[in-house]
């Protein structure tokens, strides 16, 4: 039984072109699904739809987002928000803009627990201390009293990971959580996310453009092109033999330092033309209804 099940989700710009084209995917409890694709393919859009934070300029035109069996799109906005807030969390891309620069770190983790989930302040603060220690920050008490600008990028991302896990969510959407980081810091953060996810048994929807990262963290993979899922495979199968020509080309374009001959092959025009034709055929089918 999947904790998150997205069925035929279509999203478009209001009165504009489609952004997601009947996207379906499942994330089982405790499982990590990677979402990859190039800029504009719609990978972040899926995460936003799940969390109910789509920008006002877009609308959902069809489909279901089943969270633990309940379709979020059939609930009132208030009920849907409550359900998402109680069971889901986000690890955002840019740890600096995600933290309020004028507040100390501690309250930024605990306020949600106290104000929204009704914890006592003492319980929330104890939880924050434990989590900050769990994300391997050396001096939790000092860090909780710090302001975001006093911490490095890696430290800030650790804080956001701690904050995401604070209320023991069932599902976390991680939206390019290491893209803004250095590779040596990225390695630490990926290990941390994978370790915490496994320990807490959290389902993870992991948005990234880096196939190496997918291999390290994910078990399942959806490859997107122009808002359409072109491949949905277990990660091991994908790397052994990608099924769709576009995802194969994406893999061939990924640089690999261990093999200077491999990688960095541009996606051939023929592959792009073919996948565009698939998208166009889909749109014609959708227009006929």
């Amino acid at each position: 039984m999947s904790f998150l099940s997205i069925r035929n989700l279509s999203v478009r710009l209001k009165n504009g072109p489609p952004l997601l084209r009947r996207v379906s995917l499942d994330v089982a409890a405790g499982e990590v699904r990677g979402l990859v694709g190039e800029s504009g393919a719609g990978k972040s859009m899926i995460g936003k739809a799940v969390l109910g934070i789509l920008p006002p300029s877009v609308e959902i035109t069809e489909g279901e987002i089943l969270l633990d069996g309940t379709d979020l799109l059939r609930l009132s906005p208030k009920d849907s928000r409550r359900r998402i807030g109680a069971t889901c969390a986000l690890i955002p891309q840019d740890p600096l803009t995600a933290l309020n620069p004028s507040h100390r770190i501690g309250p930024q983790i605990t306020d949600r627990l106290v104000d929204i989930l009704g914890w006592t302040r003492a319980a929330a603060e104890a939880r924050a201390r434990d989590l900050v220690a769990e994300v391997q920050i050396a001096d939790p008490a000092r860090v909780l009293r710090s302001y975001p600008h006093e911490l490095s990028g890696g430290m800030r991302q650790r804080i956001l990971i701690a904050s995401a896990f604070a209320a023991e969510p069932k599902l976390i959407v991680a939206d390019e959580p290491t893209t803004a980081l250095d590779v040596t810091v990225q390695k630490q953060i990926l290990k941390l996310i994978a370790g915490m996810q496994a320990r807490h048994g959290t389902a993870l929807l992991f948005v990234t453009h880096d196939l190496g990262v997918v291999y390290k963290v994910c078990q399942q993979l959806s490859v997107l092109y122009s808002g359409m899922v072109v491949e949905d495979s277990p990660v091991a199968d994908f790397f052994a033999a990608p099924r769709h020509p576009y995802s194969a080309a994406l893999l061939a374009a990924t640089p690999k330092y261990t093999d200077p001959g491999a990688g960095l092959h541009p996606v051939p025009d023929a592959v792009i033309d073919a996948v565009r034709a698939e998208v166009a055929a889909f749109d014609r089918g959708a227009a006929r209804g």
Partner: protein
Amino acid sequence: MADLYTVTNLRLSLADMTAKPLFGAAPGIEILKGLSFTIPKGTVVGIVGGSGSGKSTLGRALVRLLEPSDGAIRFDGTDITHLSESALRPMRRRFQMIFQDPMSALNPRHRVSTIISEPLRLHALDAIPDRTARALDHVGLPQHFATRYPHELSGGQRQRVGIARAIALEPDFILADEIVSGLDVSSQAQVLNLLEKLVADLGLTLAFISHDLSVIRRLCQRTIVLYHGGIVEDRPTADLFADPQAAYTRDLLDAIPLPDPAQVWT
């Protein structure tokens, strides 16, 4: 082979604004701590390091957007370490730069043709339309792109315009600072292939700053690894990958996530 750049004991300090008192000057903080190396003509040198290692500062010193505080930079026999802006101007044509984010490096209100030809006008060159057309040709953009605006182009096409602007001046040296890190892998591959071809066709010398060792391996004959403003390794790229000497280089290599079961992160 003759050296295009000879850098000796280069030091560079910048004002540390985080430590600036309310009144009075900010204290200096040393970013580059005595670097010495050479760049032979016609080679592609990679400069890698983590954030804050000083790689962009080093690049900016090479093209004299920053003035070193100590040491010397010689460009093709001329000491450019402390040259004045007016003395530098005629030389600037010979060392050009391609920037990381083409969207902010290209004037959004100018057409591609103006963007490429502006530096040609500043250097008072002749046959500007010919040179502009040739530059577009070199980067594989059709001539009708000349009338487009940056927002009408894809990320990869914008970066091609950035490259066209740099090569239009027929420079000896180009500094490319993280020019593919904002691109998708498919455009990344195209831009790198293009750069490789231009280096060969035009006999360019290139310094390629990147945090991505996979990209460096593909493009560069030699690699300089920076760590906290110092050089920890400066060797032919093939040797560096086969047998990294510095502990930091090994960390950097191991941290690249590979789709390879042989790589185990401990």
